[in-house]
Symmetry: C2
Subunit: 457 residues, 2 copies
């Protein structure tokens, strides 16, 4: 018999994960390897180690070990802000008058405001272990940069953040949070790197993109002694660390005998969604269970729903290796939408491969519909969500309303990746009724695809 | 034997308080009654009911019932964001290298960003029960206004907030959070009320104060049908609701066999501190235990440490009743410090009486020292605190450092009332090294005292 389910399930410290879940180990068809953009051969450990920390390179390339132990120091840090609650959305269910049962895993209860801290602390730890002076990175919405600043401050590492210019301008206070944690923040594209200067020359006045900022951060890391580049999404290592989201969710659901039917997450580079679905998808791949997974992306940057599954550069400046993924082309600069964290042209190779195999669905939503859901959710469930997270809320509500029509008592789980406290300028546009939607035309997409590397021909 | 103490103690839903703790019932010398400022006689239930909701008036006047049941609907709402964690500050202890054991009760894990929601939801509930259309209120730092907006949105009440002008300008995004919850926000002093116009005439260009904003909100409530005034601090009813903080803290400590030596809280009007210490002070008053309590206030608004214990107006416009309290005079307008929530000229009568009886200590701290503690805490414990809360952090650190000198293993508990995500303009000043301290001169204080009502002569 099912136990009565509380509003919020907090695991005990003793129930927290001791190992990350390495989803790739459960896949028969592995994601394609990263390629050196010059030689077109798989990136070696040595090549990757010029850019990334050694232990992280090992994790990046490991597609066979199913579980990887979380070092004790990282587990201790996790205890400062985890477990994240799994919330039963009783109030939302009631107001929607749906027979569906809705849960969300809330990752916003920490100062970075999102799930990003899960990987930031791991990457900072390995950088410290390697004896590095510091790390460089990019940030879009600012959540990753904040998370990394916190992690670096904890381990005494220098932290240099290239922040996408449109976010830097929309979110001046994000910069101050990072500065409070001792980080150095530069709006991107900037004149501090060769690639930044080149992009500014080619696209004067550009509001930047994650792809540009990645190029700058990589160049900065490789041109300074004792620095490496770390990143908040897209790469396998990040998905690995983010599996704590899914592991905690699964432990909490198992504890109460609940089996989800649909698992929903927003998807930019794929870190949150990949982490959330990891142990569930692992079971599905082993034929132990059958869940539906839905990736939600902005209609303004429709990577899975309108992109191509090919090799592409991870960054606009083309200093990174090639990754096989769903992509809009590394030259595609998305419109200045209010979900900065989802403005990325590609999708992590693991999720791309799973989507390609038909193991996952994808849906794109427009931003005014997303903010409607965000405001609705804030008023009913009390939490003011980040625009990124609200993509998942939108589809969770849509699915719950379908259940209302059909009378099905489905169990829906979604990832609430973070809070919107630094997104109030976006909310203001919505509150004032002046928010608009942007959907790229076929011509816009064709331009992005035209820049795909020739290897795909 | 003591159980091993986790980083964070989350109570089970079944352990949450079912009753509020009414501290006054445990006091032999009760706080002095509110007086009608015209007749100088104790305010009657009828008089108070013109301004406040009926059930709240009952609570305001009840100084004999030790425990008052929390209605089920309020307990259900509490479950959406409570229990608040009691955190063992292992990392802070380690970095300070102190034998002291430090705990903090963190009330910032909700969208209002603070403990204010505990009373907001109660007051909105009783307003709804009474069939009102809406409520009016003031807000300083914006936390109370946000909390009330959330509560009103939940119960479908109209919410009108008068926001102290200096906060309104320093925190534009606070306004947007309130608007997202459907509230109507006006900077105070404003031209929408008689008292606002009068204050503006007398002090053109004033940055406002809580005292002014209260006057405007009360006038607005009493001049509209179906409206009442609700407030976030100072009054007995608010302390009553905030006792959930102390009750949860005590249950959590008792569960692990921990007895605190010192309990510390920041004090503006006294709502957080009063709530935190409530059940502990109750025991002290019954001779069951002996705790030290420390109220921490800004040196720029030193109500307890430099004020007088006399009858005074609760508001600058003198539309409210008289309360016996430590006060700097209702005409005292504190300098525009960065802890807007502590810029109040008086202190709730219960805490004033306890302080007067020597049952509680008080300390004042300067804001640059407070921000140093805030930044230090953020980097070590991960949470970016509100400037108000950081007053308590400052003194908790000071006490822990004293233990380091003496070698005493004291147990220190402090209230971390909220997060500083909407205070980044203040942090920016601190980060840029341009924050200054303001301490009122004896002349400044004399001016405030000169305006005290004649009843005290």
């Amino acid at each position: 018999m099912q136990k009565e389910i509380p509003y919020k399930i907090y695991l005990e410290e003793s129930e927290l994960p001791t190992h990350w879940h390495n989803l790739r180990a459960f896949m028969k068809n592995k994601p394609a390897p990263l390629l050196n953009s010059q030689t077109l051969k798989p990136m070696t450990k040595e090549e990757l180690s010029e850019v990334f920390c050694e232990e992280l390179v090992k994790q990046e390339l490991d597609d066979t070990t199913p579980y990887i132990e979380i070092p004790q120091e990282i587990r201790d840090f996790y205890k400062m802000y985890r477990p994240a609650p799994l919330v039963r959305a009783y109030c939302l269910e009631k107001v929607l008058d749906t027979p569906a049962k809705i849960y969300y895993k809330f990752e916003g209860n920490n100062t970075s405001g999102s799930h990003k801290l899960n990987s930031a602390i791991a990457q900072a730890y390995y950088a410290k272990q390697q004896g590095l002076k510091g790390v460089t990175t990019e940030t879009g919405a600012g959540q990753w940069g904040t998370a990394l600043s916190m992690a670096c401050s904890y381990f005494g590492l220098d932290c240099r953040v290239y922040m996408v210019k449109c976010s830097y301008e929309q979110k001046p206070f994000r910069r101050e949070v990072m500065r409070t944690y001792g980080a150095n923040v530069t709006p991107s594209p900037s004149t501090t790197t060769n690639v930044g200067r080149k992009i500014l020359e080619e696209f004067p006045g550009t509001s930047g993109s994650l792809g540009c900022a990645i190029s700058e951060a990589v160049e900065a890391a490789t041109s300074m002694d004792g620095y490496r580049y770390v990143l908040g999404s897209v790469f396998n290592q990040v998905l690995l660390h983010q599996s704590v989201i899914g592991l905690e969710t699964k432990t909490a659901l198992d504890k109460y005998g609940v089996t989800p039917d649909i698992i929903i997450g927003c998807a930019g580079g794929g870190s949150n969604l990949g982490g959330l679905i990891s142990p569930f998808m692992g079971e599905k791949l082993q034929g132990k269970a059958n869940y539906r997974f839905i990736a939600v992306e902005p209609a303004s940057c429709p990577t899975l729903t309108r992109g191509k599954y090919v090799y592409d550069y991870c960054d606009t400046g083309r200093v990174c290796p090639l990754s096989k993924m769903y992509t809009l082309g590394s030259g595609f600069i998305p419109s200045a939408s209010h979900a900065g964290g989802l403005r990325y042209h590609g999708m992590t190779s693991t999720l791309s491969e799973l989507y390609h195999q038909g193991l996952m669905e994808a849906r794109s939503v427009e931003q005014t519909a997303v903010f409607e859901a965000a405001q609705y959710f804030a008023r009913i469930e009390g939490i003011l969500p980040a625009p990124e997270s609200s993509h998942a809320i939108r589809v969770a509500i849509d699915e719950a309303l379908k259940c209302k029509e059909t009378g099905e008592e489905k169990t829906i789980v979604f990832g609430l990746t973070g809070t919107g406290y630094f997104d109030m300028m976006s909310y203001q546009k919505f509150n004032d009724g002046i928010m608009t939607d942007y959907i790229p035309t076929e011509d816009d997409l064709a331009k992005g695809f035209a820049g795909l590397p020739k290897i795909n021909l």
